[in-house]
């Protein structure tokens, strides 16, 4: 035990308090917009004061300071109306506070309000639930800080006056977290890691199996990330990755979470995609991949939508590749044909066909398909990879 009065400020711990404090303020009736601003000011104050004077109860400290800021803001407003409001001078102390998980879920529903555009939902979630600064979010999405600040304040204005006590749409929350995850990890801010952190909090707040499915999917694909890029930054596809670099602990956690979700017998597309990811993670080498099982999961994934017109084209394309491995490349190519209308302009469709042609030994056709895919890629690493594939197939 150390009696040192100064303790190092743990920013991670500080950030986990953000949603709890904010949820408390909004629950007792503060406007989301004003409460969020007040909390940001309280956080800045904390960074200044805590290193010298660590609080006994950080959460209560933040709530009190944020409340004072709210009172100050309200006073200056009130002065304009020649009116005083004193009843907010002290934070109301309730009985047993709500569980941390409830706070997170409540705030996620606020930030992922259906009236907000997806880009705003993402930005607001990272700030209000993730506790990232506007600067960090701007860096992560490669936009100027002023642009991101504007996006966030417009989103908060949209929420003004909306009833925030209704249960929200969990499907939207899941989609927003997956958007954060796929936005990547290249910048200074690790968005993939942040999405996993938030999804883990979400699974504490709801028993919904799709929430666990999403967390499992993220963990099982994130585990492969260390092998996904070579030292010089080039993309390494699944079949060529050094599987020794995969994160075994993340895979184990992902499988555990997935099993607990599947046990509830209410499958959904995140659970199924996680199951497919788990089968890839489970193979000691590309050759040992259990393609028949993967194909069975793709059958389930496609069958989630009865109407063939509204089937998820990405699922149908993934299934076509699995068919190519199980039945044969010609059968797989045949499966991709019916996607020509919907996906024929996307690089993924051409890349999948290149892979299937290569699998069947038709290298000139593979090279042509990879070159077509490269022309349609919108990501430099993927574009370069596809050009290499084309050149390799021609050589």
């Amino acid at each position: 035990m150390s009696d040192e009065p100064t303790q190092r400020l743990d920013e991670g711990a500080l950030r986990t308090l953000v949603p709890r404090v904010l949820a408390g303020l909004v629950r007792r009736g503060e406007e989301f917009d004003a409460a969020e601003d007040a909390l940001q000011e309280a956080l800045l104050e904390a960074l200044r004061v805590w290193p010298e004077h660590p609080p006994r109860d950080p959460r209560a400290w933040l709530t009190t300071v944020a409340t004072r800021r709210l009172v100050d803001a309200r006073r200056s407003e009130a002065a304009r109306y020649r009116r005083e409001e004193e009843e907010y001078a002290e934070p109301r102390v309730g009985g047993a506070g709500p569980e941390e998980g409830d706070d997170t879920l409540f705030l996620l529903f606020c930030c992922c309000h259906p009236d907000l555009a997806p880009t705003s939902q993402v930005a607001l979630t990272l700030r209000a639930v993730g506790g990232l600064t506007t600067r960090e979010i701007a860096d992560a999405f490669y936009v100027p800080e002023a642009t991101m600040a504007q996006r966030i304040s417009r989103a908060k204005r949209t929420l003004q006056g909306r009833r925030l006590d209704q249960p929200g749409d969990l499907a939207v929350v899941l989609r927003v977290l997956y958007l954060v995850y796929t936005a990547g990890h290249a910048g200074r801010v690790d968005l993939a890691g942040e999405a996993i952190r938030l999804a883990r909090q979400l699974t504490l707040a709801t028993a919904e199996p799709e929430a666990r499915g999403l967390l499992a999917l993220m963990l099982l694909s994130h585990a492969r990330l260390p092998a996904r890029f070579a030292a010089d930054g080039r993309l390494v596809t699944l079949d060529r990755q050094d599987r020794g670099l995969w994160d075994a602990r993340e895979i184990a956690e992902g499988v555990r979470v997935l099993q607990s979700a599947l046990a509830l017998q209410r499958p959904g597309h995140y659970q199924i995609e996680a199951a497919i990811a788990a089968l890839h993670d489970d193979a000691a080498s590309a050759e040992e991949t259990d393609w028949p099982q993967i194909l069975a999961w793709y059958d389930d994934l496609v069958a989630l939508t009865d109407d063939p017109v509204h089937q998820d084209p990405a699922a149908v394309l993934g299934r076509a590749v699995a068919v190519g491995h199980v039945v044969g490349p010609t059968a797989g190519l045949l499966e991709t044909d019916r996607l020509r209308e919907v996906l024929g302009d996307r690089h993924r469709w051409h890349a999948a066909r290149g892979h299937l042609h290569e699998l069947g030994g038709d290298l000139p056709a593979a090279a042509a398909a990879y070159a077509e895919a490269a022309r349609r890629a919108t990501n430099v690493a993927e574009r370069d990879h596809l050009i290499r594939q084309a050149a390799r197939a021609r050589a």
């Binding site: 990879y370 070159a371 022309r375 349609r376 430099v380 050149a391 390799r392 021609r394």
Partner: protein, 139 residues
């Protein structure tokens, strides 16, 4: 210090000094050398303190114009004439002089092509205009 864009084109510009097939038809080792050179240029510019930004542009192009009151935008997404310019990407640099920009553009143009030979690719050099006038009027 003036800023310049060094623009690379998929097509357009003066007649090629040396005709080159599309990159996906090169030998794999030539593709590698070419890509390595692009990274090297960015690193070189950064270490010189001359780098501002670099971006690649996808080749799909859509021309859009106002459709008139109460009308949808008018778009045309090609195919455009093979002779029209199509920008592939750029480096933005911050350099001492126009001469330095030309020197760097020529270096970019020396990038290795098939057989490791220089490509002699035409590079489009454009000065970026300033938003604000200088604080002194130079009188």
């Amino acid at each position: 210090m003036p800023k310049y864009l060094l623009l690379k084109h998929y097509r357009g510009g003066p007649e090629s000094h040396r005709p080159v097939p599309p990159i996906d038809q090169w030998a794999p080792e030539d593709v590698e050398a070419h890509m390595a050179f692009q990274h090297h240029v960015s690193e070189l510019l950064e270490s010189n303190g001359e780098y501002v930004d670099t971006k690649a542009l996808a080749p799909a192009q859509t021309w859009v114009r106002y459709g008139g009151p109460d009308a949808a935008p008018v778009t045309t997404d090609g195919p455009h004439p093979e002779t029209s310019d199509l920008i592939a990407g750029f480096w933005m640099i911050d350099v001492e002089s126009y001469e330095r920009a030309v020197e760097l553009a020529a270096y970019v143009s020396s990038e290795p092509g098939p057989g490791g030979e220089p490509m002699y690719e035409w590079i489009d050099v454009r000065e970026v205009m300033w938003e604000r006038p200088p604080t002194t009027d130079g009188a």
